[in-house]
């Protein structure tokens, strides 16, 4: 029990922490370790064989064999010894300024107090223990324009949200005037997404190289007050920028991707992280989710209907596949062995009707592997009534527990697009068509955009290079053969639809709007391409832009189209926003998206 005198001493020795205050490892020490020590002592760089990126490892001796923390006894704790070493060359942090006296004092007291851990889990990375940052207010006016990485039209198309410095700016589309400033957000805003119900905006961003964040901004709340609250709900904290966000159609999951090479899924019902994957080896620049769920199963050949013709693989293996695509509008595609039925939804409440039936003939193996498709539609469907009935029945009796999952598709600077199961983050396949040694598509292209197409199995991806690629994840998976026959397979055009865009620089942003893809590039060009309907041209050699929107001249990072009015907007390096009439390509408005810039 401390007596009066030592109580006094303790009081004098405790500066800001207050009398007898317990030092919180999580709140007070973790930030110091993260900022001053992690650079040399984490899983990537482990100087002296000592790592402290988790609490567990923080306690373990390194190469020296000395115990870093001896509870209750700072003088025996090697960590404390290193922090206070009089020799500049041996003192930690090495080759840097020493910790401040107050900071060292915190460590000392914490050790004296028993060196307890107040985080949820000792094997958590300590950066995850750090609280979300409190963001500073932005300057009243911007001295210079800043690049705008994210823009979003409001649901009614009358406002445009743009990313600012620690804030979201709301602009009036008609007048180009600033309407609102939503502060309390990260330094850079990289993506803005509405929840499907339009009531919340998910903001992804952070500070390059050090911090990432997803915040949820209440849209209703915005409208209510002039000065919206700035304590927006934090969904997640990352160690580097969050680059893109995508909601599933049912609003239950939010997928995020970022500059730490990860893709993560969040359960929006309880705000917990569902899964995380680091299959990519470079930044994941964009994500999207399909509007269909895919499932497949293998069944024994014994149960094959006489209508099916099994190929060599299937005969030899004794089993064949059944595959099922379940779309949001309740239409479906179902396949067994060599027959595939595609249906289309007509009226709500009425079962979808058969649209086409495809006979798939697979012959050969390795270099002689060949897939031929013969499609029947319209009247010719009648002669295949039996198989259509069979397949429809298969869809209806498809087991619930195998109802499959949407695909999450992610484009990356590692030159691939990966396809994950939304349910558990398992890697389904990798699309490597943007990396080719030979042929008209030769090149190793970093990717910046990916968009799923509604009511279609097709995914569109692009970035560097001259083409957008449209491909089916299941076909890609099936064709992902050996290296020897890869080129031969990808030379077949049936598996990839190509739109030649011929932008002179990389495309940094792709946005699907209806039956079109809008793309903005490093050269300042904005173009619209048809991906469905009569104007869709898939030709590896022929450029096929439908419309061109002029007005920008420098790197463009963001593009958006309104869902309620024919508007397109784009922004980029120069910080300027240009808004066009989507149909006529006329420039409707342009302004620097920054609170009145002081001209210096």
């Amino acid at each position: 029990m401390p007596d009066m005198r030592s109580l006094l001493v303790i009081t004098l020795c405790l500066p800001a922490t207050g009398f007898g205050a317990e030092i919180s490892f999580r709140r007070q020490l973790a930030p110091i370790l993260a900022q001053r020590c992690l650079g040399c002592h984490d899983n990537r760089k482990t100087e002296g064989r000592y790592a402290l990126h988790t609490f567990e490892l923080f306690l373990k001796a390194g190469e020296s064999g000395e115990i870093p923390i001896v509870a209750g006894n700072p003088n025996d704790s090697y960590l404390f010894e290193k922090l206070t070493d009089p020799d500049d060359d041996l003192r930690m942090p090495q080759k840097d300024d020493a910790l401040q006296t107050e900071e060292i004092e915190l460590f000392k007291q914490w050790i004296e107090q028993g060196a307890t851990f107040d985080g949820p889990n000792k094997s958590d990375r300590i950066v995850t223990l750090l609280p979300p940052r409190e963001h500073p207010p932005p300057p009243e006016v911007y001295r210079v324009p800043i690049p705008v990485f994210a823009i979003k039209f409001s649901l009614d198309g009358k406002s445009l949200f743009t990313g600012g410095w620690h804030e979201l700016l709301v602009w009036d589309v008609e007048s180009g005037k600033l309407k609102q400033r939503i502060t309390g957000l990260p330094q850079r805003i990289q993506c803005i997404e509405y929840t499907p119900d339009g009531r919340t905006l998910a903001i992804g961003g952070g500070a390059p190289g050090e911090y990432g964040e997803i915040r949820l901004v209440d849209v209703d709340n915005l409208a209510a007050t002039e000065q919206p609250a700035s304590n927006h709900e934090v969904l997640a904290v990352w160690e580097d920028l969050v680059l893109d966000l995508a909601f599933t159609g049912d609003a239950r999951s939010l997928i995020a991707s970022g500059a730490d090479n990860s893709v993560r899924a969040y359960d929006m019902t309880n705000r917990q992280e569902s899964w995380r994957t680091t299959q990519h080896v470079n930044w994941v620049t964009a994500v999207d989710v399909t509007d269909y769920r895919f499932a497949e199963q293998r069944v024994s050949n014994a149960s094959a209907h006489a209508l099916f013709t099994l190929n060599e693989y299937e005969s030899k293996s004794g089993s064949h596949i059944q595959q099922h695509w379940d779309f949001a509008d309740s239409s479906f595609i179902v396949r067994e062995a060599n027959w595939e039925l595609e249906t289309v939804a007509v009226t709500k409440g009425v079962p979808p009707i058969a649209e086409s039936l495809t006979k798939i003939t697979i012959t050969g193996i390795g270099k002689t592997y060949k897939v031929e498709r013969e499609t029947f539609s319209g009247d010719s469907l009648r002669s295949h009534a039996e198989i259509i009935e069979y397949l429809t029945n298969l869809h209806e009796t498809w087991p619930m527990e195998l109802s499959g999952s949407e695909f999450v598709v992610s484009s990356s600077m590692d030159r691939t697009v990966k396809v994950f199961a939304r349910l558990d983050g398992q890697l389904f396949t990798t699309y490597k068509g943007h990396r080719r040694e030979f042929g008209p598509l030769a090149g190793l292209h970093r990717l910046f955009g990916v968009q799923s197409e509604p009511n279609s199995r097709r995914i569109w991806s692009g970035g560097e290079g001259q083409h957008f690629h449209g491909w089916n994840p299941v076909t890609v998976r099936d064709e992902d053969g050996t290296a020897a026959d890869m080129e031969a397979r990808f030379a077949k055009e049936y598996s990839v639809d190509l739109i030649r865009h011929d932008f002179p620089g990389p495309v940094f942003s792709i946005h699907r709007s209806g039956d079109h893809l809008l793309a903005a590039s490093a050269s300042g060009q904005v173009k619209q391409f048809s991906i469905a309907g009569p104007n869709a041209v898939f030709d590896v050699d022929k450029v096929s832009a439908q419309r061109t929107y002029d007005g920008h001249h420098d790197h463009l990072f963001a593009i958006d189209a309104s869902n309620s009015r024919p508007l397109v907007a784009a922004s980029g390096f120069k910080g300027e926003v240009v808004i066009w009439n989507q149909e006529t390509t006329e420039v409707l408005n342009r302004f620097i998206a920054a609170p009145t810039i002081e001209i210096e």
Binding site: V144, W165, A207, P208, F573
Partner: protein
């Protein structure tokens, strides 16, 4: 080895409080070498200057001149009078406000005065992207080859190596990776500033402090909006260093010298770039340099101070001398200027040279170095018996006149010209080698030899030097070979980017290449890249063809680019004229350095084909003197060889003495060297076979020559005579490996480092010891075979005579009493005399005295 912030913080932080203390007390620093000097005056450079702009700075140098001529840097000891227009700290002046002033500089009682004009302080001075920002990133080591300057960079930031490609740097820094590195709105939040100051973890460590000048310049560049220099912005045309050469005495502690670096721009302006240039040392064992350009010596020796300012590299040469306890110079014999210059350096650095070697050692050494062969027993006894005072001189002359010299040194040249059997047939290789041999035998001036070689054209079976372009089968290989062999430059690094250690730019590489790119290699009228050995290749020209820099796509004019060539003129001609000109900086120096290296065991520049300002010669004066002599003599190779051989330096004993045992590069004593592969095999051969077989072959060749010279032969007999002569010559010349036209790649020779002649690099001939070598000497087929032959030759001799013979032929010296006794005992005790002789021979072959030159 960069001037990054974290290298020597101690020195920097020591100098400041020290200087402050001096200002306060007005005393000279106790750690400076100023203590013992009585200075006559101080000199300040520059004496007058103009600082234009708010960021203009200038490093002043204050030099104390002593009555005995010594100069000492007193920059850090000097005090400067207060001024309104400029602030001066540690001799570093920064502009304060517009105006003019004269500044009093004082050190103790001595003073000097300088004039300073400051202007344009109030005008905006945007930070230059290239000349400031990129210079700083180079200085901090950000764009070095191990960090962001490597292909694909690090951590999303890719910069060009040493900022040689500003366009790439612009793309990366201003817009790269989604504008990752800069935040013009709040510059302190830029990754470019947060990482190097370690406010965020940084793999490259702490490179900047927030109170550093480079930090504030980078910050300003970002604040100003990350602007790029306009296209007409002045470019740096030259960089000047001061001092360029200095001798610094280390007296009770370290001697220091402040550097000053000035850049000259195309608009006539100058800028002091001392604090943003990069400093490195060629010898950082004896000195260190801090980011402010202060060089501190730690031990005696020599170093180049290499200064890089973007694409310009310049070097200063410092010699640090320190008194060695008990050292007192004793005059050593000087036979010629070589000795004078060698001894001058030795005396300066306080090494006492060893005395001369004895006659037997001299003979063996000379014979191996000049002819590649051991002396014969007769040669040994004759030389030792000769008492003429100029016998060494005469011996040198005799050996230089021998065909063995021409063949052995022809072999050295053939190494560089890559005459081998993979590209050429044995006959072709022999013919090509013969051309080289004849050039040396007739002592053809070296410039003529090189001219013939490099401008050769025609049928390779008729024009032997044209084989050079056949063997080096494409332009890039020719470029690199020519640069390495004749310019001593390893220019291959400049193929992809500006040379990291020298001023060669990537454009220069392709300019030299353009000089050789007209060459067309044809076989039977068709272009042929890799013709089969034995085939008849023709070297022709495609006039006007030049090479482009692949990175920029711009075609490069042939080197030298400032010479006008007419369109039909062979581009090589002007190149060779430039190369062989007497004042060419490379040609003579590289040639004499190679000769020196062959004779002395180490070049004045080492490696001999790696001349660069950051790899200075160990004795600049000597190299220059030899080069000048060489050029003046009309590039007479024999003359230079003769001069070196006649020097006392060459003839020194290899025994080190107390005051030179730590010297490894200044030639205070001879170097102990392992015999080269060919020398070793020939030594064993000559020892074991004696000279008889060789003499026999020589006789056969002489006879064949006589036969051929007869003019009364008919066609058939003449043809026979020619065949006989060629065969005899072939036999003779293939007996000794040191006399071969092309290498015989046996395991024995390979183990001892024989080059395959795949490249022109001197490094192909390896000299490191290996286990293989020991095993070869102990038990190879070659050794066993020769030992048996030796036994046959020696068996008839009586024990005493045998003992004397083996020592004379193996070690080039008479045997000692004790050695003869041992041998006699060994032979008498043997059951099988033959085997005992073999054992004796084998034992001698495996001694150090046999294997090494000493």
């Amino acid at each position: 080895m960069n001037g990054a912030m974290d290298r020597r913080p101690k020195v920097r932080s020591m100098a400041k409080p020290l200087a402050n203390a001096l200002l306060f007390l007005g005393l000279m620093a106790t750690t400076s070498s100023a203590d013992d000097e009585r200075f006559e005056r101080i000199e300040v450079t520059p004496t007058q200057m103009t600082l234009a702009g708010q960021r203009a700075t200038a490093q002043l140098l204050v030099t104390g001149v002593a009555s005995n001529g010594h100069v000492v840097d007193l920059t850090r000891e000097a005090t400067f009078s207060e001024s309104d227009v400029v602030s001066i700290d540690e001799g570093y002046a920064r502009s304060k406000q517009n105006g003019q002033d004269s500044i009093d500089v004082r050190v103790g009682e001595l003073q000097a005065r300088i004039k300073i004009t400051v202007s344009q302080v109030a005008e905006p001075q945007p930070v230059s992207f290239r000349w400031e920002t990129l210079a700083i990133l180079t200085k901090q080591g950000c764009n070095s080859g191990s960090c962001h300057g490597k292909p694909n960079g690090r951590g999303a930031l890719e910069l060009s190596l040493n900022a040689f490609d500003s366009k790439l740097d612009e793309r990366s820094l201003v817009r790269g990776s989604f504008v990752r590195f800069t935040e013009p709105l709040v510059p302190e939040q830029s990754l470019l500033l947060k990482k190097p100051t370690l406010r965020i973890p940084h793999g490259g460590g702490k490179r900047l402090r927030t109170d550093d000048e480079p930090y504030s310049i980078l910050r300003q560049w970002i604040y100003e909006g990350c602007k790029i220099d306009p296209p007409d912005f002045p470019v740096c045309v030259k960089v000047d260093l001061e001092p360029r050469r200095r001798v610094i005495r280390l007296a009770d502690g370290s001697g220091q010298q402040q550097m000053r670096v000035v850049a000259y721009f195309s608009d006539g302006s100058t800028r002091d770039v001392t604090r943003i240039a990069t400093f490195t040392l060629s010898n950082d064992a004896i000195a260190s340099v801090d980011p402010a350009g202060l060089v501190t010596g730690h031990g005696r020796g020599q170093t180049a101070v290499v200064v890089r300012y973007l694409d310009d590299i310049a070097s200063a040469y410092f010699t640090f001398v320190q008194d060695v306890a008990g050292f007192e110079w004793k005059d050593a014999p000087e036979h010629n200027y070589v000795d004078r210059l060698v001894n001058q350096k030795l005396r300066q650095l306080q090494y006492q040279p060893s005395g001369s070697c004895d006659d037997a050692t001299f003979l063996r050494r000379l014979s191996l170095d000049v002819r590649g062969l051991l002396p014969t027993p007769n040669e040994v006894t004759e030389f030792l018996a000769d008492d003429a005072c100029d016998k060494r001189e005469k011996l040198i002359e005799r050996f230089l006149d021998s065909p063995e010299y021409a063949r052995f040194w022809g072999l050295k040249m053939a190494d560089l010209l890559r005459i081998n059997q993979t590209v050429l047939s044995p006959e072709q290789a022999t013919a090509y080698s013969r051309w080289v041999f004849e050039s040396i035998e007739t002592n053809e001036p070296y410039d003529q030899f090189v001219t013939k070689l490099l401008t050769a054209a025609g049928d390779t079976s008729e024009v032997q030097p044209a084989n050079f372009f056949r063997v080096t089968s494409d332009t890039k290989m020719v470029t690199e070979s020519v640069a390495q062999v004749f310019m001593g430059s390893r220019i291959m690094c400049a193929q992809c980017h500006n040379h990291p250690y020298e001023s060669w730019t990537q454009d220069n590489y392709y300019q030299i290449a353009s000089a050789f790119h007209e060459i067309e290699r044809t076989l039977g009228g068709e272009k042929k890249k890799l013709p089969a050995p034995g085939s008849d290749v023709t070297i022709g020209l495609m006039p006007g063809r030049a090479m482009s820099n692949p990175r920029t796509g711009i075609e490069q004019p042939p080197w030298p680019t400032n010479v006008h060539r007419s369109p039909e003129e062979d581009n090589r001609v002007a190149f060779v004229r430039w190369l062989t000109s007497p004042d060419n900086a490379y040609f003579a120096r590289v040639a004499v350095n190679r000769i020196w290296s062959h004779l002395m065991g180490r070049g004045l520049v080492e490696p001999v084909d790696d001349f660069r300002s950051s790899n200075p010669p160990v004795n600049v004066e000597l190299l220059d003197a030899l080069a000048q002599d060489f050029a003046k003599s009309g590039f007479d190779r024999k003359e230079i060889t003769r001069t070196i051989l006649n020097s006392q330096t060459y003839q020194r004993s290899s025994d080190a003495i107390k005051f030179n045992e730590t010297d490894d590069e200044l030639f205070s004593h001879a170097r102990v060297r392992l015999l080269s592969a060919e020398q070793l095999q020939d030594a064993i051969t000559r020892f074991c076979d004696g000279d008889d077989r060789f003499q026999q072959l020589e006789q056969e060749l002489a006879d064949a020559k006589i036969e051929l010279a007869r003019d009364d032969l008919d066609a058939a007999t003449r043809e026979e005579a020619v065949k006989g002569h060629d065969a005899a010559r072939q036999q003779l010349s293939s007996y000794y490996m040191t006399q071969q036209p092309y290498p015989h790649l046996t395991t024995f020779l390979r183990a001892f480092g024989q080059p395959e002649r795949v490249t022109a690099c001197v490094c192909e001939r390896r000299s490191e010891a290996s286990l293989d070598q020991t095993l070869q000497l102990m038990n190879s087929e070659l050794v066993r075979k020769l030992v048996k032959r030796a036994q046959v030759r020696l068996a008839p001799l009586l024990d005493e005579e045998l003992a004397e013979q083996v020592y004379l032929s193996a070690l080039g010296r008479p045997s000692r009493e004790q050695e003869r006794t041992e041998i006699r005992k060994h032979l008498e005790a043997a059951d099988n005399r033959g085997e005992a002789i073999e054992d004796l021979v084998w034992a001698l072959v495996n001694t150090n005295e046999f294997m090494f030159q000493h």
